[in-house]
Amino acid sequence: MPSPVDIFLWGAFPYIAVAILISGLIWRYRYDKFGWTTRSSELYESRLLRWGSPMFHFGLLVVLLGHILGLFIPAGWTAAVGVSETFYSFLAVTLGIVAGVLTYAGIALLIWRRRTTGPVFLATTVNDKAMYVFLVAALTAGLATTLINASTLHYDYRVDVSPWVRSLFVFQPEVALMARTPIEYRVHTITGLVLFAIVPFTRLVHAFAAPVQYLFRPYIVYRARDPRNLGTAALRPGWKRSDV
């Protein structure tokens, strides 16, 4: 019988985090479209950013992809297409380590740059600093998990972590599965979920504006002036624009 703490952490907290994420995004989109930006600091400094930012972002994209593959593709499926368990975990661990180290080195470079480049540091808000704490915590826990996994006898997270994640989606959380995983997995999961929850309230929201639509758009955009909105003055309540 799982303890109440386990029930909360593995049965309720994931839903809370995702709920905060989704409602936070909606709220921010509604009230702070103007603040929804990368706040790029490349104008100030580009020599370090040119290395740090792609390392971090591309590394992170691979890490994300790895999570999706690992958590959502059941072990049975990969076995069915002829990928042996040893080969799979070899691939997962190598790729995970390469991408994780790349991401980690990238973020280290970015933080170092942020601290040492005067203008960039000046443009760093308290919110940014707090965000880096959570981000680095999640990345550290994640990389540690991978490294521990690689150095010890192979523990297969696809036996309990992955089914637990999938169980969340059908609203039948199998708390017991997650509660028995090694401690590093549990820490990583919690830090990751916390990171989800803070995304809408930090500069990390820019990830949710990833401009994939650009690939499918004609180059030149035309827009008509909104006829209800000529000039910048608001219409007074009770007044209506005449159509003459």
Binding site: Y31, D32, K33, F34, G35, T37, T38, R39, S40, S41, E42, L43, Y44, E45, S46, L49, R50, W51, G52, S53, P54, H57, F58, G118, P119, L122, A123, T125, V126, N127, D128, F201, T202, H206, A209, P211, Q213, Y214, L215, R217, Y219, I220, V221, Y222, R223, A224, R225, D226, N229, L230, G231, T232, A233, A234, L235, R236, W239, R241, S242, V244
Partner: protein
């Protein structure tokens, strides 16, 4: 044929005296805020010179504009969509702040605070980017003004480099003129094409290219896309900003601020009708030298009844079509053929055109002891003075001297013709004929270039006749402080829940108002501990009271904050502080309110 209308500008370079009034008034209006200290929507460059930002014309380096692929397709020179997205995390083609210049202010307070002593106190320069002392100021938006730094910087002029194989510039033969630049509001804008979020757009009604501040996500690709480097990155809000062609003024039929205040009265604004269907084809003209004629071919003759019918069918309002018929811009570009586009080889089909300057030629002749007003001398000089002509051709026609020569000949003919009239000599129709005009046409061109009144230089139809009253930012029916969230959160003071730049944007007028008030009343003149206290005395309008200038007033607690300034404005602020003052979604830079 798909007729579209565009508001377009022509500048007569012969008349520019390089006074920078246009730049300063533009800056006062649009970019006197923190985050855009280094930004000049309008700047005036001395030519030859590097320009602003430095060497922006070097497209081998910056890769702005479009290029033709081997199969004749038009793609942004910096790469297509996939290439752009691949370099989104760090954009190697983004200019650094030092390519513009590091904006600064001075420690004016040192002048007041320094204890009495033997030495004069000094107001040392302080960077507005890092907040640190700057030892020497080494560059600015017009550091090489009036050929300052020549010949040291001469070799850095991109255009000069291109023609240098042909002629070396002799210092004794140096010619010089000024080139005022704003955004070109291109027909084929590569800034729009490179914006991944689709926040940049060309307005259907008047062709003005704008940034939707609510959609911009700060991917900063547009800065790379624009070959004229007229897209700027606001480093505090993390959003792109650009010249707006003063759309709030244009909408009510007023010229842009730069035009309104131009000392030389050299700017013309009017409507051009063009065929949007053929625009992509024109921009993809294989030979660069053919781009000018190709763009010329896009413009439709508003005097042709067929064109007018097509225009009205395309939904262009009647008064716009009428304005197109009276357009000074159409006359200079098409009827007289004296205006030329700036760098057509970038393939963006720019819409701010220039009448090339004849004065370098006249000066050269006069300096050599000949009569600089005689058209035969002038024609001869245009032919033999290779330097100015090939330089101008590199600027305006991708190197083809013929159109530049023709424009200069027409200006020269006009000059000689009018001199004869001034001196009471008989009119010589030969002069007009030599440039393919008749005397009447030459006289009309003279009128337009020399005498034209305000109403003739600016023929601007309003956005919607029935709406004129509501278009102004502040007028009776609506206060510009009535935007969502209400006043008090405005401008430089505001900081949304997610640090600076989050939260609803304040209308620009409000932000400027708050910024100005803050600068005038802040504790110290150059406090740089936070960004808040940044002050730029360049923007001080002399009306406020910097702290410490006068003894403190008795606080009488009438609620009017600082107890000075414009009472009416204070009244507005107070009224607006009631909750729920803002009924609408309107802001200076929201949907339809752009910057």
């Amino acid at each position: 044929m798909r007729v579209m209308a565009q508001i377009c500008m022509v500048m007569n370079l012969d008349k520019c005296i390089g006074c920078h009034t246009c730049s300063v008034t533009c800056k006062q209006t649009w970019t006197s805020r923190p985050g855009v200290e280094y930004v000049w929507f309008n700047n005036v460059e001395t030519r030859p010179g590097q320009g602003y930002p430095r060497r922006y014309e070097d497209q081998e380096r910056w890769r702005g504009g479009w290029k033709l692929t081997s199969r004749g397709r038009l793609v942004p020179r910096a790469g297509g969509r996939a290439r752009r997205l691949a370099s989104i995390f760090a954009n190697p083609l983004l200019p650094n702040i030092r390519d513009y210049y590091e904006p600064w202010t001075y420690d004016y307070n040192a002048l007041f605070d320094t204890p009495a002593g033997d030495d004069f106190p000094v107001a040392a320069p302080r960077s507005l980017i890092s907040g640190e002392r700057m030892n020497t100021i080494t560059w600015s938006a017009n550091w090489d003004d009036n050929l300052g730094g020549m010949p040291e910087h001469e070799s850095d002029d991109v255009v000069l480099q291109r023609i240098q194989d042909k002629v070396r510039m002799e210092l004794e033969q140096t010619f010089m003129f000024y080139l005022p630049r704003i955004c070109e509001h291109c027909i084929n804008p590569s800034c729009v094409a490179s914006c991944p979020s689709g926040a940049l757009y060309k307005r259907v009604e008047d062709g003005i290219v704008l940034v939707d501040q609510d959609r911009c996500r700060g991917w900063r690709m547009c800065v790379t896309g624009c070959p004229y480097k007229k897209m700027y990155f606001n480093h505090r809000t993390g959003k792109a900003e650009k010249c707006t062609f003063c759309f709030p003024r244009i909408e009510v039929g007023q010229p842009t601020v730069c035009s309104e205040t131009c000392v030389g009265r050299l700017r013309y604004i009017g409507v051009l009708l063009y065929d949007a269907d053929r625009a992509p084809e024109a921009a993809a003209t294989p030979r660069e030298q053919d781009l000018y004629p190709a763009q010329l071919g896009l413009f439709l003759n508003p005097h042709d009844p067929e064109v007018r019918r097509a225009a009205e069918q395309a939904g262009i309002p009647h008064d716009w079509v009428q304005a197109a018929r009276r357009s000074p811009v159409y006359d200079l570009i098409a009827t007289y053929g004296v205006a030329l586009p700036l760098h057509p080889e970038y393939r963006t089909l720019p819409m701010v055109w220039y009448v090339p300057p004849l004065s370098p030629v006249v000066e050269a002749i006069t300096a050599s002891g000949h009569d600089g007003e005689d058209y035969r001398n002038l024609f001869g000089a245009i032919d033999t003075l290779r330097i100015p002509v090939s330089y101008l051709a590199e600027l305006f026609t991708a190197g083809d001297p013929a159109p530049v020569e023709l424009a200069l000949r027409r200006l020269a003919a006009m000059r000689s013709h009018r001199r004869r009239i001034n001196l009471g000599e008989p009119v010589d129709p030969e002069i007009a004929a030599s440039v393919g005009f008749d005397v009447d046409k030459l006289d009309r061109m003279f009128r337009l270039l020399s005498l034209a009144k305000y109403e003739e230089r600016y023929v601007i139809p309003t956005a919607a006749a029935g709406d004129v009253r509501r278009l102004e930012e502040t007028e009776l029916s609506g206060c510009s402080l009535d935007y969502e969230g209400g006043p008090g959160m405005g401008g430089t003071e505001s900081s949304g829940p997610f640090g600076e730049a989050s939260g609803r944007p304040a209308p620009l007028s409000v932000e400027t108002f708050h910024g100005l008030r803050e600068r005038q009343t802040s504790e110290s003149a150059a406090e740089t501990a936070g960004h808040r206290g940044r002050i730029n005395l360049l923007n001080w309008d002399g009306r406020g009271l910097p702290e410490g200038l006068f003894p403190k007033r008795r606080e009488d607690g009438d609620g009017h904050g600082d107890g000075h300034g414009d009472g009416r404005r204070d009244g507005h602020v107070d009224r607006g502080e009631e909750p729920g003052a803002g009924p609408g979604e309107v802001s200076g830079r929201g949907e339809g309110g752009e910057s």
